[in-house]
Amino acid sequence: MIRIRQLRKTFDGTGNQGVTALENVNLDIGRGDVFGIIGPSGAGKSTLLRCINMLEKPTSGSIYIDGTEITGLTKRDLRVVRRQVGMVFQHFNLLSSRTVYRNIAFPMEISGIPKTEIDKRVQELLGLVGLEDKASAYPSQLSGGQKQRVGIARALATRPKVLLCDEATSALDPRTTRSVLELLRSINKQFGLTIVMVTHEMQVIKQVCSRVAVIENGGVVEQGSVQDLFTRPGAEITKGLLAGMDAAGFMVDTSKQRRDFEGLQPRGKEAIKNVG
């Protein structure tokens, strides 16, 4: 489904030394995989994901999506490819001026899909993510979990073949994280959608991914099935990431406690206990 070869990405830094964010990255992501990309902060995970829909232009190397090489496409062709690749963001990135309904309609609107068809699809998606009653709400009136459900519905609107998620659950509390991950997994099962998931939390990998690549300093240090990774971690960094998980299977991450807890007190308290 996605084939990445000798991908290299450097950023021009201030002064004459640039930053090499990715170096000789090779990856094969199969159709229907939930593929995790994990690694420490600054490893290049986001950069790698953003290269897959050309939000970041690779310095060299090639990326194939469904056999199409996307690095050399014209702007127009790239827009067509982008409609087949959905993206879900850590901070949701919803349009604050639009209702839930119109946010989900947005990608279809810009692809010129007729109104009646858009309406049908939006109703369908609202049902899929369980937000039928929020159609006319604005993003500011939603909890983090609900916002991310809108983000997911929006990403699925044009029936993409691939869904890219960059830390899609990192702004959510553990309980909401689980429900959003469950949603993603059911979408994967139901539609056979390929999902690429960037995270720095092993728990996320454990819960939904089938395959995983560990990256560090801009390079892939290990890749394979999630089971293998957990039972026979090879690289030091993988062992480190696994050690960071506590007994309950949650990442030890105190920064979670200051994040929002869906505004629901009982849930919030339970979530704090889980973080322990």
């Binding site: 982008r82 959905g86 993206m87 990135n93 947005f106």
Partner: protein, 209 residues
């Protein structure tokens, strides 16, 4: 007399607010999107536009009115009168609107723009469906501010033949020592400014979600 002056002031202010918004908006949008790192980065165009805007902004309004006389005569057929005053008022307000709109657009969340691009939006679609709607409350706040400033400027234009409240204030208040007229005009101007701000705030509230 005061009613007619009020009517003239309202006419000058609303027309020049309208014209400067129509001209300033596209200019502000161009300034914002040609900026480094924005969706249509273009250093040359940005520098040219910024130079034009800054030059116009740095000319004091009183001088601008005089400099503009030939142009005003060309556009309206006369260099004196209420309609003629609209020309320098609009020209003075365009760069102001442009800067306000530019700032509003630049404050739109980068992530939201990126999300639209990731969905395959073209540059024009990003402008029309993301930048303008998302920046709308800030843009309306800026246009309200422009209208308030124009009320002040229009009084100045009135002093040199544009008619309106400024004219009456100079003629009857300053030269004729009629304190009652002067006081009445101050009250009217205060009400006008407050009313403009009130309407602006109401509209902003309506478009903010």
């Amino acid at each position: 007399m005061l009613v007619k002056a009020l009517y003239q002031t309202l006419y000058m202010v609303s027309m020049s607010a309208l014209i400067s918004s129509i001209c300033g908006m596209p200019l502000g949008i161009m300034l914002a999107i040609t900026n480094d790192g924005s969706i249509a980065q273009n250093r040359t165009l940005n520098a040219i536009l910024a130079f034009l805007v800054n030059t116009t902004r740095s000319v004091p309004f009183v001088i601008l009115m005089v400099v503009m006389i030939p142009f005003t005569r060309f556009v309206t057929g006369s260099s004196i009168g209420t309609t003629a005053a609209i020309v320098p008022l609009s020209v003075a307000a365009v760069p102001f609107v442009a800067r306000v709109v530019e700032t509003s657009i630049r404050e739109v969340d980068k992530g939201v723009i990126e999300a639209a691009q990731a969905m395959g939006a073209s540059t024009l679609q990003v402008i029309l469906k993301v930048l303008i709607p998302e920046a709308l409350p800030a843009i309306i706040a800026g246009i309200t501010l422009t209208a308030v400033n124009l009320i002040g400027y229009s009084a100045m234009a009135g002093a040199i033949g544009g008619g309106g409240l400024g004219h009456v204030a100079i003629r009857y208040g300053y030269q004729g020592f009629d304190m009652k007229v002067l006081a009445a005009i101050v009250v009217i101007l205060v009400v006008l400014v407050q009313g403009t701000q009130l309407i602006g705030d109401l509209v902003i509230k309506k478009v903010t979600h």
